[in-house]
Amino acid sequence: MNFGAVSAIYKAEMARFFRTLLQSFISPVISTSLYFVVFGSAIGGRIQEVEGIPYAAFIVPGLVMLSVMTQATSNASFAIYFPKFIGTMYEYLSAPISFFEVTLGFVGAAATKALFIGLVILATATLFVDLTILHPVSMLAFLILTCVSFSLLGFIIGIWAKNFEQLQLIPLLVITPLVFLGGSFYSISMLPPAWQIVTRFNPVVYLISGFRWSFFGQADVPIGVSLLAISGFTALCLGIIWLIFRTGWRIRS
């Protein structure tokens, strides 16, 4: 195991994050505050409660997940696309490192950034609502697993993308809709029965449900199913990455 390489990649990626720390920090804080103003105060004033939880508090887990998923995906996809774009990919290919080490360095850094942003949003949320976290360990585990799995997804997108447009395409067309339709701002039980079944095919539902359970002890799907879903998703992404490196697809000519 080449730990030196993992640490070199991780540090270089984190350095990029710290170079733009202010942007990384301010934009999630502002967007979260906006969500609270719009959903929490304006709409929440009419909805009052969802499943016995004040609406403003109910949306916190969904808000955190929304940002964490999009940030993890875009961070990781950009991180691996950038060396392809500027031509420094040769360094990773000619160094004595395995696909696992490259992935660990890049995904580790992207997941760290996403986790940091997730925690910042959580902290921001406490300024607007009273939050009690019923199962803190489970909350952290879900948060970290989501950071890792969506960073893996972003990593795949970054390798796949041939230009900046494609880099934006998947997050915009797939992830954002899935998150919005995944019960970020409502309970699945509020939907008509037919749509409840359709929603079961949305993987994000399981993540948000499990995450919300960690806060309030209530979930749309059993917590075990949520854990299984996110573990399966992580394994799937890892498998795809392993295949990519094995075949050299879009990396090694």
Partner: protein, 309 residues
């Protein structure tokens, strides 16, 4: 001693069907400097890319330091430093961090003194805290070299190192290469400049259309190149050479219409004066005289042309 780099029957066909290398075999001895010459698109960069792990070979085997570059890639690549042809660097990071990063990729412990020496050798020390994007093209090329040397490789690949490089950098670079040679580092470089290959390489290989046309010791190649031919056209065909004319290097052309004298331009005496005096004495009538030489350039062009036909 086994070769440090051993390429056997290497072929590379790209998915589009283009064959960049067809059956290349090449052994490189430890500590030598070998120059690969060839026109653009000959396959020089593909060969280097295959050895370094950037391109996957379609067939054949490559070993570096006795390690197969595919199966035992860690140990093989551990020995290799690569200076690519195109300038590609992380623009937002400093020179120092760029070089340290590469050292990290090769799992070497931090050694600031070594990197300082490296940057000083390449006149980069003053620029160590500058961001790469602020540097000139020549400076960026120096950074590429520093990165390739950051982990102390045993085999260094320089892909067109002097293309578009000013005199100052070229001098610096050859000084570094000279020092590496003394340390026993094997150096493989590709170049368009034949004089450069002559000046620095122990051996010269010529590549054309994905095949190695020739690999020869530089001095042998130069000896062959240093020869000139004097062609003496005669008014009347001549039979066997008269005794007074017989000497080393003089031959009768097949039809007897000409004599061909091969001589060494570097020799103290070429023997031309004596030959001309003896010719006059023999009574042969000269119709014309011409000389031609075979430079590396000509051999090179000749080989490539032959191959093209």
């Amino acid at each position: 001693m086994p070769p440090i780099v051993s390429v056997k029957d290497l072929t590379k066909t790209y998915p589009g069907g283009f064959t960049a290398l067809s059956g290349v075999s090449l052994d490189i001895e430890e500590g030598e400097i070998i120059a690969l010459l060839g026109p653009n698109g000959a396959g020089k960069t593909t060969l280097i890319s295959a050895i370094c792990g950037i391109t996957m070979p379609s067939g054949g085997t490559i070993e570096v330091g006795g390690h197969d570059v595919v199966r035992d890639y860690r140990r093989a690549r551990d020995l290799i430093g690569l200076v690519p042809q195109e300038i590609a660097l992380e623009p937002f990071s400093t020179v120092w961090n760029n070089v340290r990063f590469t050292r990290g990729l090769f799992d070497r412990p931090r050694d600031d003194a070594y990197l300082e020496g490296l940057l000083r050798d390449l006149s980069l020390w003053d620029k160590r805290d500058a961001k790469v994007m602020e540097l000139s093209g020549g400076m960026k090329r120096r950074v590429l070299i520093a990165k390739a040397l950051s982990h102390g490789p045993r085999v260094l690949f320089l892909d067109e190192p002097t293309a578009g490089v000013d005199v100052e950098l070229r001098k610096d670079m050859w000084r570094v290469v000279e020092r590496l040679r003394e340390e026993g580092v094997t150096i493989i470089l590709t170049t368009h400049y034949i004089e450069e290959a002559e000046a620095i390489a122990d051996r010269i290989g010529v590549i054309s259309r994905g095949r190695i046309m020739l690999v020869e010791r530089t001095e042998e190649l130069m000896r062959r190149l240093g020869k000139k031919e004097l062609r003496i056209e005669l008014s009347e065909p001549v039979g066997p050479l008269p005794d007074g004319l017989r000497r080393d290097g003089l031959e009768r052309a097949a039809d007897g219409q000409a004599l061909i004298y091969t001589y060494d331009t570097h020799a103290e005496r070429t023997g031309i004066t004596a030959l001309l005096a003896d010719l006059q004495a023999s009574g042969l009538q000269l119709a014309d005289l011409s000389t031609s030489n075979s430079s590396l350039e000509e051999i090179f062009v000749g080989l490539v042309k032959e191959d093209g036909q």
